[in-house]
């Protein structure tokens, strides 16, 4: 192994690590705010990438129908609740938000073929289709059981994951897709070629991480999320709605997931079930951060990416084994280091 190979592997590892870091942050965020271990995080990666690929191929992505379905189910659930509590005036608004907005999007996509639009608009449309699924899934699957134990929430997560993977196969088929690169430029660096797309992934991840930091430090909603993460009951007493915090955190994590998918789909082929493994590696990163610390989780995810790149060179058959075995010493170290606090 010479310097050039080491550099190339490092570049590859950091690019993948950056994606894992984004997902690790999203996982930590969701867990801190709602205590949900969000296994379906990876599905948003696949949905984001495949929705974009579908739009580029001039098809209406299946996720659009999912959006319409979930929207109408929520409208029914919410509408029924409003009807029972005699809040009749709210019903039109509920229907408008949950059914009207997705219908408007579907109508727009049916009239203007998205295939010819500039890449940036296509990305935005793909995000518009996929991101609302996050809060919608929270509203339907998690909110009714939000106060139950972490275990119940985990079981719900598994169910949501299996359902979404199945829907992914139905929507996108068994074969994968790739989207064209955002940029074709490449740079020469110490004898190794740096792909422009890889740099873009890094840059976008960095920008996103900084934006998240600013969001949590500077905005009222970010602060509300942090307050909920620290003390749910206390935050509620201060007038922060825990369901709003849940919806917001799921929206953020869906956005991060879908955006990560769009970032890596030019680098690799994405399948309906690719997301799970990518999400799992982000999860290893999040575990290193104890599902609590953002910077440690991001660093852990980068470590996972690098480890993966170098082990694929030395022992490609055992790559996954090496990456996932990392969890064991980390868990040992964490359990020795920290005192276990019982769930209240």
């Amino acid at each position: 192994m010479d310097l050039q190979i080491a550099l190339l592997l490092g570049q590859d590892g950091i690019a993948n690590g950056a994606i894992y870091a984004l997902l690790a942050l999203a996982l930590v965020l969701v867990f801190a705010v709602t205590r949900v271990i969000f296994i379906p995080q990876g599905e948003f990666v696949a949905f984001g990438a495949l929705t974009l690929a579908g739009l580029q191929a001039g098809q209406l992505p299946g996720t659009l129908w999912l959006l319409l379905c979930l929207g109408s189910v929520i409208a029914m659930v919410e509408g029924w609740g409003a009807w029972r509590e005699r809040r009749l005036k709210q019903i039109p608004l509920i229907v408008l938000v949950n059914c009207g907005a997705p219908l408007l999007l579907a109508g727009a996509l049916l009239t203007f073929s998205p295939a010819g639009l500039p890449l940036l608009i296509q990305v935005l449309v793909a995000l518009l289709v996929v991101v609302p699924l996050g809060p919608m899934i929270y509203r339907l699957a998690y909110q009714p059981v939000a106060d139950l134990s972490v275990l119940v929430l985990l079981i719900v997560s598994v169910a949501v994951h299996v359902t979404l993977v199945g829907l992914g196969l139905l929507f996108f088929g068994a074969e994968g897709s790739r989207t064209p690169a955002f940029t074709d430029t490449s740079f020469e660096f110490a004898g190794a070629t740096l792909q422009g797309q890889t740099l873009l992934v890094l840059l976008a991840s960095l920008v996103l991480i900084v934006a998240l930091y600013l969001f949590f430090e500077r905005t009222i909603y970010g602060k509300a999320l942090r307050a909920t993460a620290m003390n749910r009951t206390g935050a509620r007493l201060m007038g922060i709605s825990s369901s709003l915090a849940g919806l917001l955190s799921f929206g953020l994590s869906a956005a991060i997931g879908a955006f990560s998918g769009i970032l890596i789909s030019p680098l690799t082929t994405i399948y309906y079930d690719s997301g799970f493994l990518i999400g799992l590696k982000g999860f290893v990163g999040a575990i290193i951060g104890g599902l609590a610390s953002y910077p440690v989780a991001a660093a852990g995810a980068l470590l996972v990416g690098l480890l993966e790149a170098y082990s694929s060179f030395w022992a490609s058959a055992f790559k996954e084994v090496i990456v996932f075995t990392l969890v064991i010493p980390v868990l040992l170290w964490r359990s020795l280091k920290s005192r276990h606090v019982e769930e209240e």
Binding site: D12, L277, W314
Partner: protein, 384 residues
């Protein structure tokens, strides 16, 4: 009161007649991996089953299709269900090797013939009391590997690198290919693995490049097999590239694009049916399938995997009339005579070749079951 009893009796009689008539129908149990990792193979097979004939030898044929989700446990559960509840006369499936191997025991125990759609030679070899009941339609990996090695020696290739799936498919190909290549004095300079869901194979590709092979063989199936090839091209590899027949579908061409130009692969003749010479007996039977499938699912939708299911259907179409002369469907005797009739298949041209079964050979394909194909201009081109 009397009238009431009479009606009841009449009803029982009608029900009994219906059951008897229902019994005369032939039940074919189909187990396919339509979801899970093997879905890209299973879906075209499932579509093909819908095109199979619904009457054979003046008897109605029911196809009962179950999905095993590419899972071995589900496959054995399904075959038990088909045999005990649906009383099937024959089993078709499963799509993948591990599932088919697990199903052999159940099929043999129930003395029900089974036609597997999976590739490994182990499904029908070595012949024993259990495999007595088992047949298969896809070519053996060894047949395909021999074609590749032949092509390599013709082009005087000395060193080859192998990169394959880190699962049964990649391992199976490695075993076959390394054995045959060694016998033909081809040196294998690198042996790497990658996962179907990997997002990057940079490490493996760099290692292969460092070994400077004359050619690279990629042992993967479907679109995931495009990833190593794209990475090799991106890092400036100039040698010959080989794929296996597992990639022979239109999605692979779509995903791999211009990076796959000039790739060689062995495949069943159905992939290039229209380009076969008219003298080839497979041409007509292969085109029949292609036309049927494309009429139902659109131009360019056909893949070689679905053709394996079609060939299983052709075997049944050929054997059932023979078996019907000896016994009626639903009986133990019918299953036995169906098995004997399948084994007696001679000179049957199907989409993937010509079947000539024997007591020792329950695949029955010869050299006509494979061709070398080159990817040219984003399409499959027969290598003469």
């Amino acid at each position: 009161m009397n009238l009431h009893r009479f009606t009841l009796r009449l009803l029982t009689l009608v029900a009994a007649t219906c059951a008897a008539v229902g019994h005369a129908e032939i039940n074919v149990g189909v187990i396919i991996s339509a979801t899970g990792p093997a879905a890209s193979l299973g879906i075209p097979e499932k579509n093909t089953v819908a095109l199979l004939p619904t009457t054979i030898g003046n008897q109605k044929v029911n196809y009962i299709v179950l999905d095993d989700a590419s899972d071995t446990t589900a496959a054995t559960k399904n075959i038990r269900k088909l045999i005990t509840e649906n009383k099937v006369d024959v089993i078709v499936g499963s799509t993948i090797t591990p599932n088919s191997l697990a199903m052999i025991d159940v099929a043999a125990e129930a003395e029900t013939p089974m036609i597997s759609l999976a590739a490994a030679a182990r499904i029908v070899e070595p012949m024993d009391a259990k495999r007595y009941w088992v047949f298969k339609t896809p070519q053996n990996d060894a047949q395909m590997a021999t074609a590749i090695v032949q092509h390599m020696t013709d082009r005087s290739i000395k060193t080859v690198a192998y990169i394959g799936f880190a699962d049964a498919y990649g391992e199976g190909w490695w075993n076959e290919f390394s054995k045959i290549a060694e016998a033909r004095k081809i040196q294998i300079v690198a042996n790497e693995r990658f996962n179907r869901t990997d997002t990057s194979v940079t490490g493996q590709v760099l290692k292969i490049l460092a070994a400077k092979p004359d050619a690279v063989l990629i042992g993967g199936s479907g679109t995931p097999a495009a990833l190593p090839q794209k990475s090799l091209k991106e890092k400036g590899y100039k040698g010959l590239m080989y794929q296996t027949h597992g990639v022979a579908n239109a999605d692979f061409l779509r995903v791999c694009g211009k990076d796959c130009e000039g790739t060689f692969l062995p495949a069943g003749p159905v992939l290039v049916a229209a380009q076969l010479p008219d003298s080839n007996p497979v041409k007509k039977s292969a085109q029949e399938y292609v036309n049927k499938y494309e009429a139902a699912h659109g131009k360019g939708s056909v893949s070689t995997f679905g053709a394996h299911a079609w060939d299983a259907g052709r075997l049944l179409e050929n054997a059932i009339p023979v078996a019907l002369k000896k016994a009626s469907p639903g009986s133990k005797e019918f299953r036995k005579s169906l098995r004997d009739a399948l084994e007696a298949t001679r000179n049957l041209s199907v989409a993937h070749g010509v079947f000539n079964m024997s007591a020792q050979d329950h695949l029955g394909f010869d050299q006509r079951a494979r061709v070398m194909v080159k990817i040219e201009g984003g399409a499959w081109k027969l290598v003469q």
